[in-house]
C-alpha cells in the first residue's frame, strides 16, 4: 500500500513538473509570437514611412530647377504626367501600366497605392503599382486579374467611378477593402499593410504653391 502511494505521489510530481513546463513554454511562445507580430508590423510601417520620404525626394514628382531638387515640393506638371488625375476619367486606362515611379522606388513583393491631394484646389491624383514580384509563390498577374474582375467595365462600375470622382474623395475609389482581401485570400498571400500620410507643397505655377498631402498605402506580401 505504501509502495503504491509512493508511485502515485511520484506520478503526481511528474504531472506537476510537466504542467509547470507547459505553462512556462506557453508563456515564452506567447511572448515570441507577440514580439514577432510587433516586429513584422513595425517593418511594414517603417517601409511605408521610408517609401513616402523617398517619393518626396523623387525627381519624378518633386519640382526641379536645373540641378536643384526641391524636396517636399511636388510639381503639378509632373503629377499630371506621372499619376492618374481623378478628375480625368480617361486617365483611368493607366491604372495597370508600369510606372517609372515604382521602377525607381518600391519594395520587392509589395503593392503600393499613392494618392496626392491638393488641399486648396481639391485636385487629386493617384497611382497603383508594385515592386518586383514572384517570391513566396505569389503571382501578381493572377492578383491583378482578380482585381480586374472586381473592376467590371459595365455601366454600374463606370457610374461608380463617376460617383467616386465627383462626390467622394479617397485613395481607393475603384475597389473596397473586401475586394483586396478576397483576391489576397484566393492566392494565399500573407499580407501586412500600412497607410501613412505626409504633408507636401504642390507647385501649380511660378507664382502659385498650394498645400497638400501625400498618402502612401503599402501592402507587403
Amino acid at each position: 500500500m505504501k509502495g503504491a502511494e509512493k508511485v502515485l505521489n511520484t506520478f503526481m510530481l511528474a504531472l506537476i513538473a510537466i504542467g509547470g513546463f507547459v505553462v512556462v513554454m506557453l508563456f515564452f511562445l506567447n511572448y515570441y509570437v507577440q514580439t514577432n507580430a510587433v516586429i513584422k508590423t513595425s517593418d511594414v510601417d517603417r517601409h511605408a514611412i521610408a517609401l513616402g520620404n523617398l517619393y518626396l525626394s523623387s525627381d519624378k514628382l518633386a519640382y526641379t530647377l536645373g540641378k536643384t531638387l526641391n524636396r517636399d515640393v511636388f510639381s503639378k506638371e509632373k503629377l499630371d504626367k506621372e499619376m492618374i488625375n481623378q478628375n480625368n476619367v480617361l486617365q483611368y486606362t493607366k491604372i495597370f501600366s508600369d510606372s517609372p515611379i515604382f521602377k525607381d522606388v518600391s519594395f520587392p513583393n509589395s503593392i503600393v497605392v499613392l494618392y496626392v491631394q491638393d488641399a486648396e484646389s481639391n485636385d487629386r491624383w493617384f497611382l497603383i503599382g508594385h515592386g518586383s514580384l514572384g517570391q513566396n509563390g505569389f503571382n501578381y498577374f493572377d492578383y491583378e486579374n482578380c482585381l480586374m474582375t472586381k473592376l467590371k467595365l459595365d455601366p454600374q462600375t463606370i457610374g461608380r467611378i463617376f460617383v467616386y470622382t465627383t462626390v467622394f474623395s479617397g485613395p481607393f475609389p475603384l475597389w473596397d477593402q473586401y475586394d483586396f482581401k478576397e483576391c489576397e485570400s484566393s492566392y494565399n498571400a500573407q499580407v501586412g499593410a500600412s497607410l501613412k500620410d505626409f504633408p507636401v507643397a504642390i507647385r501649380v505655377s511660378d507664382s502659385e504653391v498650394h498645400e497638400g498631402y501625400l498618402v502612401v498605402w503599402l501592402r507587403e506580401i
Binding site: F28, L69, K103
Partner: protein, 148 residues
C-alpha cells in the same frame, strides 16, 4: 522498509532527468528564437538595419555617407542584389549560450532602391554611400555599400 523507499527514489531521479530535459528544450528555444530578435549583432537585426539604411540613404536629394558598425566581434558576409539584402554571420568561435544549432546563420531584408549589386566578404562595419549624377537624360542616383 528499504524496498518500499526505492520506488520513490527512482521516481525522483526520473523526474529530475525529465525536468532537466525539459529545461534544456526551453533554453534551446529561448536562445534559438528569442535572443536573435533583440541581439544587436544577430543577422536578423543587421540585415534589417542595413536594408533600412540603404533605403534611407535614397531620401537625401544629393549625396550622403552612412557608417554602420553593428557589433565589435562578429564578421559578416553581405550580398545586395535585386533589392534584397542578405547577411551571413561568420561567428568563428560560437558561444554555446548565444549561438545554438537552431540559430539561423543568415537573414534577408528588403530595400526600396535599385542600382546596387554588392558582395562583401568578412566585414565588421559598413559604409553606405549615395550620390546623384547628372547625365544628359537627367538625374541618376548611384548607391554603393562597402565593408571593412
Amino acid at each position: 522498509m528499504k524496498g518500499q523507499e526505492e520506488p520513490g527514489i527512482i521516481g525522483m531521479v526520473l523526474i529530475g532527468i525529465l525536468v532537466v530535459g525539459l529545461l534544456y528544450l526551453l533554453i534551446e528555444f529561448v536562445f534559438a528564437n528569442m535572443v536573435p530578435l533583440f541581439s544587436s549583432g544577430s543577422v536578423q537585426i543587421v540585415s534589417r538595419d542595413l536594408a533600412g539604411l540603404i533605403t534611407i540613404a535614397g531620401i537625401s536629394p544629393y549625396k550622403i555617407t552612412i557608417e554602420y558598425s553593428p557589433t565589435a566581434d562578429v564578421l559578416y558576409n553581405v550580398s545586395v542584389d535585386s533589392r534584397i539584402v542578405t547577411v551571413y554571420s561568420l561567428e568563428t568561435n560560437p558561444k554555446p549560450m548565444t549561438i545554438s544549432s537552431g540559430v539561423s546563420q543568415y537573414a534577408t531584408a528588403k530595400t526600396a532602391v535599385d542600382n546596387i549589386k554588392t558582395i562583401i566578404d568578412s566585414a565588421k562595419s559598413f559604409e553606405i554611400q549615395k550620390s546623384t549624377q547628372f547625365t544628359g537624360q537627367g538625374r541618376e542616383n548611384v548607391y554603393s555599400v562597402t565593408g571593412k
